[in-house]
Subunit: 409 residues, 2 copies
């Protein structure tokens, strides 16, 4: 295949999304692509012709290695969903005119559900107008909520961060001889994949957390309080992990409860977050003990200083596999990760029709959640564990992780 | 010196307080101590005779290394200030009776200001009753607010964590092409040593944060908003670092401002934290842009997964130096760190009369804060930089940092 290729990043950043970008770049160059363009801020930037020549950014093997180990999206990202083809043909005509202008033969998009929707629509339009340009999706999301693929690059590193930091937070809580309750809030509005990773804190040197609450099952505030009360009878330090998206059976988010002002901020705006804060306040109110809410916040998705080598390697592989697939003539596909075995862990890449993936949110199977809804099963732990193995230490310069320089011109 | 020694940990945990414990243990054994006892939960536990024989916990060089690399206080901690001697002679009699029972010749206490107060009082009482027992303080606090010592063990690792994670958060904020403001909240109610470390995010590959606000100078909310407004005119992503303890010129904490309910929680309790949240809400209110508040929270003091080798080594050294000082006949002293030179960084240990240290809080010199109060000077950066250098990677087992097993019997 001759000509140029283009690659973009979309959706929320992860610690390893740039490893996929590195994989796309390297394999494309190795397979003979002339130019590898990068879209600034995904398809949104591309529509404004904001593109860069990746050769100007990656000038050496060291640059490539720095790119792999730099968290967050090097090219910038966007949250932009393409309209239906029928709704705005002009936009598609513009995109394809630009693709022709830059002699693009293959288009790669690294992202989650919305990004796969972009690949689907562009591939459909290409068929319609009989364009030879190929469109391949590269999976990425810390949320791990993409269908068909065993897991998504980005998830393993986020899970490793959560598992490791949770161990440290448990240690921190153990030091005082007074009753104290810690609520750790973890990302995942609708799927509990990340929160479930807190279960990995249970290991030979750590008793783990005392409860794990996923959004897949209704949260019962009274039962939660009863459980904390029971634990406090015999123990000083309690730590539980909750998903930011847990809801009570009436469909209300937990943070929407509260009998005083429904959590308004200092300006009278209703708050749309603060699950851990609400529960920590509730625990103090009920038991009069010390409590704290810890949000793992942005750190869980951008901790390039604590990545999983399995994850960062797979992120690289799916990038390269996407290029290989395009060069083999595939289009309208997403690269998937296929787990051949968990023990020993063996994982390969595959391809799957993006039409069957886009816009479908994969949740944690209910059979992986204990019957009382307060923990996850051994099966879930066995599923996650291989994905957090081994490290790819950042390149440390003057005491801090070194990143590839980004200039957003 | 014959007999046994005892060591305790007090105050807030740090990532390297156990390295000082390891230093005390190893040097005491090497210098011929019979038994090294550990107090559970500091002097508070000791009063209840809760002690352990460290030989039962440290059985190998591997155990010692695991102890060094385990964050938070292995022995447990307390926040307990001894009464004045005159106020409760019975308590002192009890402590010294216990010390005699266990044939203790030297007492080491690893902690901050309150812990040095404990050393001071016990040393004074020993003089009064003509006891030969020696009392030496080992400095420890992420807050870096102890007088006389150039810096405190624990600070360097917290500063390294803050500097590194701030770089990652800045990266994360850069990805979108929409206006967004991030406020990072950093520990330090009265002293800005930790918040100042955010200045280290400025390096060859990172433009750094757009403002640093320490509690040493009054915070002007209007000027802050004006500055953010000005930055938003030309840039998309703004990141500032604030100390949790910043106050306006009327002495009110920033989080106490707000014209709606003064930040009450869902139960009507006035909130005593949330500086970043308040400012992020204010920014959204004023400019209608996306904003987020990130609290580095407990992670900044317990991140054993990202310690400074300089810090962890110095923590070990001050532990060992304390033992050596006691064996040399010293008492009523705190070990200090004496910086001989910043470039090249050369630091030794010294001893200082604990009477001149206890209960005095060291703040960031005003000349290290820029005149407009929105950043710190190059001098402060040069002061911090050597303290975050190099890493002591945790011992990683099955993908997570391994810690020494703690059993709180």
């Amino acid at each position: 295949m001759l000509g140029n290729v283009i690659v973009g990043q979309s959706g929320g950043p992860t610690a390893v999304i740039n490893s996929s970008l590195a994989g796309v770049y390297k394999t494309a160059k190795d397979l003979g692509a002339n130019k590898v363009y990068g879209m600034r801020h995904g398809i949104h930037g591309f529509l404004e012709e904001k593109i860069v020549d990746m050769d100007e950014k990656i000038k050496s093997d060291l640059d490539l290695e720095l790119l792999k180990r730099t968290p967050s999206a090097f090219l910038g990202s966007c949250r932009f969903k393409l309209p239906e083809i029928e709704a705005d043909r002009a936009m598609y005509e513009k995109i394809f005119a630009l693709l022709e202008k830059y002699e693009i033969s293959a288009f790669f998009y690294i992202g989650g559900n919305d990004s796969m929707d972009t690949i689907k629509k562009l591939a459909d339009y290409a068929v319609e107008i009989d364009s030879p340009i190929r469109f391949i999706g590269v999976p990425k999301t810390i949320d791990n909520d993409l269908e068909v693929t065993d897991h998504t690059p980005g998830y393993g590193s986020a899970a490793k961060y959560i598992a490791s930091v949770t161990k440290e937070i448990i240690r921190d809580g153990l030091v005082y001889d007074i009753k104290n309750v810690t609520i750790i809030e973890i990302m995942g509005r609708n799927a509990g994949w990340l929160t479930g990773a807190a279960a990995l804190a249970t290991c030979e040197d750590c008793e783990g957390v005392d409860g794990i609450y996923l959004p897949e099952v209704a949260f019962d505030i009274d039962k939660f309080i009863a459980k904390i009360g029971k634990l406090l009878e015999t123990r000083d330090a309690i730590v539980v992990a909750v998903s930011e998206g847990i809801k009570t059976s009436d469909g209300k988010y937990v943070f929407e409860h509260g009998d005083h002002n429904e959590y308004v901020d200092a300006f009278g705006h209703k708050q749309l977050s603060g699950t851990a804060k609400y529960l920590a306040d509730l625990v103090s109110e009920k038991f009069g003990c010390k409590s704290r809410a810890i949000e793992l916040s942005t750190m869980q998705r951008c901790a390039g200083h604590l990545t999983s080598r399995v994850d960062i390697t797979e992120a690289y592989q799916v990038g390269g596999s996407a290029v290989k697939a395009a060069f083999d003539g595939e289009t309208g596909m997403m690269v998937t990760l296929k787990r051949e075995s968990s023990d020993p862990y063996i994982c390969t890449t595959g391809l799957y029709d993006v039409h069957k993936i886009a816009n479908v949110e994969k949740k944690v199977p209910l059979e992986w959640i204990t019957e009382d809804g307060t923990f996850v099963s051994k099966e879930m732990v066995n599923y996650i564990k291989p994905l957090i193995q081994a490290e790819l230490t950042p390149i440390m310069i003057t005491g801090q992780p070194r990143h590839i320089v980004v200039d957003m011109q």
